[in-house]
């Protein structure tokens, strides 16, 4: 079967499952919403950044990034559930290219992660927490897709190496949470202690969220070009590693 057909088939499966599962959609949005509202209101009183930026305005792009990080990583890791419940065998025994399978899973999860993140974005726009023009939206979408695709590929890479879903908690605690907290989603990157600055600069999500801040016309740290270069290299790396591991995987 041709490559595009394989990609489309896998994409169709991901999106069909997504359409069906409204409760999971709501569940996946609860945590970012909690962060936005509770942290936003809780720290709001103490926080003034560069004169006039409120805390809720500040963390808005960070929460969009958070939503993308969580849903993308879990999307990639869902390969592990397919392994557990045997559906992966059905996919792997088919006469289709492994790269096509991985591309389809990635695109499907990027689509669903983007939809969730876009719900946040629309909410932020409606409440006036984010103001953005048309080119800003396009630029934001570009950063969002890059963030999502990188972490889906990373999730698939991990799922390819893991044999059972018990590792989920481990990845949650030692990968997703640190990546989120060190990304500057919740605090500005200026004036941090040296060790923390190093860690935030090592976190690829930092550049995604900084890129989003730029796209939304907010305070940002790096040049958008630098953000793009770092994100594209990160995506390239996770894709190469993901493809290599996925190809070697047996169901």
């Amino acid at each position: 079967m041709n490559f595009i057909g394989t990609v489309y088939t896998l994409w169709l499966r991901e999106t069909t499952r997504f359409k069906r599962n409204k409760s999971r959609l709501i569940g996946s949005m609860a945590l970012p919403l909690l962060f936005l509202v509770v942290l936003g209101a809780g720290f709001g009183g103490f926080f003034r950044y560069r004169g006039n930026v409120s805390y809720m305005e500040f963390i808005g792009p960070g929460i969009v990034g958070m939503s993308l990080l969580f849903s993308s990583m879990f999307g990639g890791l869902s390969v592990l559930w397919d392994k557990q419940f045997g559906f992966l065998k059905e996919i792997l025994v088919a006469p289709v290219s492994r790269v096509g399978i991985m591309a389809g899973i990635t695109l499907g999860n990027v689509t669903t992660s983007m939809l969730k993140a876009l719900v946040f974005l629309v909410a932020l726009l409606l409440t006036g927490l984010v103001r953005v023009d048309f080119t800003g939206i396009l630029l934001a979408m570009l950063f969002m897709v890059l963030i999502s695709a990188s972490f889906v590929a990373l999730g698939i890479a991990f799922a390819s190496r893991m044999s059972d879903p018990h590792g989920f908690q481990l990845i949650m605690n030692f990968l997703i949470m640190p990546v989120f907290f060190l990304s500057g989603a919740l605090f500005p990157l200026e004036g941090l202690p040296g060790w923390l600055t190093v860690l935030t600069y090592l976190d690829p999500l930092t550049y995604g969220i900084d890129g989003l801040r730029f796209a939304f016309g907010g305070p940002h740290q790096f040049s958008p070009l630098m953000n793009l270069v770092v994100l594209v290299s990160f995506l390239g790396t996770t894709t190469v590693v993901g493809v290599a591991l996925f190809k070697r995987m047996t169901a």
Binding site: L12, R13, R17, G86, K89, E90, L92, V93, P95, T250
Partner: protein
């Protein structure tokens, strides 16, 4: 060994014998470590895509997407195998009809019972009309009625499409009734390969069991000396005798028992089955190991949980 086109070939053996591993190698899920095998003329290690194109596999463990409907599972499969939309729709109707799931086609698979899932998996295995169909324990954990229905479907298929079917099972009676030829596997090696009839005939006739504890050695010796008797084995509280024409041997046996004052509690006679063939070849019963295998229990548990 070779398997002919259009044959229904059985792989028998206790769990852990290597049946599933063999299927995994032949269906390109696992690469062979040594040796080589060809399916439809293609090498399973080198030419994986060509092999994948001509086979269908019904795996031992469940392999459906619970969150899709029955029809969507089939549609996904049809797309992956590059079947065009029109043919796909027609064949989905056809196979759903065959396995009697047509009225449940729009229901999510997670609402299906174990037997329905199995039937859907079999329907899926046939959707792309494979030349060779692998069925790995297709009736494991199913109730007897469902087992029989699934077997009827499979026999139908073989007749309608001339599909070569390779099945693994540890239900000996199932293999006996269905397969034209059988390979018995134990510890990763094929220890017998023949038709079920020939295998049973090789045991040398009917099986007589005598209820007698600690039989007199002279009595056993007398039975052994009869030319028609192929085998005698003394077990804890019974004596097993393999003999040609068991019916006519029983009266003679009783008169020997009378001569030796041997207290026989009961006599039973049956035709040997594949279970006896297996015991004769390995000295063990197949079912003992089937139950002891922890993987088996987990698998049955998983199936139940999924119901």
């Amino acid at each position: 060994m070779g398997i002919e086109q259009g044959e229904l070939f059985g792989l028998l053996g206790p769990n852990g014998a290597g049946k599933t591993t063999l299927i995994s190698v032949l269906s390109t899920i696992v690469r062979p470590t040594t040796g080589h095998a060809t399916v439809c003329g293609h090498d399973v290690g080198r030419d994986q895509d060509a092999v994948r194109k001509c086979i269908g596999v019904v795996f031992q463990d469940p392999s459906l997407d619970d969150e899709l409907t029955g029809e969507e599972n089939l549609d996904f499969h049809g797309r992956l195998y590059g079947i065009d939309a029109e043919t796909r729709a027609r064949r989905i109707d056809e196979v759903l009809d065959l396995v009697e799931l047509i009225d449940r086609r729009h229901d999510l698979v997670k609402t299906y019972s174990g037997g329905m899932r199995r039937r859907l998996e079999i329907a899926r295995g046939l959707l792309h009309r494979p030349e060779v169909l692998f069925l790995d324990e297709p009736t494991l954990g199913l109730d007897p009625q469902t087992r029989r229905r699934i077997w009827n479907h499979i026999l139908d298929l073989k007749d309608s499409y001339g599909t070569t079917i390779i099945l693994t099972t540890h239900y000996m009676d199932e293999a006996d009734q269905l397969c034209s030829r059988i390979a018995i596997i134990d510890h990763g090696k094929i220890i017998a390969l023949d038709t079920p009839e020939a295998m049973k005939a090789a045991l040398g006739g009917d099986l007589l069991e005598l209820g007698i504890a600690d039989p007199d050695p002279e009595f056993v010796k007398t039975i052994r000396s009869v030319p028609e008797v192929a085998q005698v084995s003394v077990q804890e509280d019974k004596l097993m005798v393999t003999v040609e024409n068991g019916e006519s041997f029983i009266p003679r046996l009783l008169s020997y028992a009378h001569d030796h004052d041997a207290p026989i509690g009961w006599v039973s006679m049956r035709k040997p089955n594949l279970e006896d063939v297996f015991i004769n070849l390995t000295g063990r019963e197949i079912r003992d190991e089937a139950i002891k295998e922890p993987g088996d229990r987990i698998r049955i548990f998983l199936r139940r949980k999924n119901k």
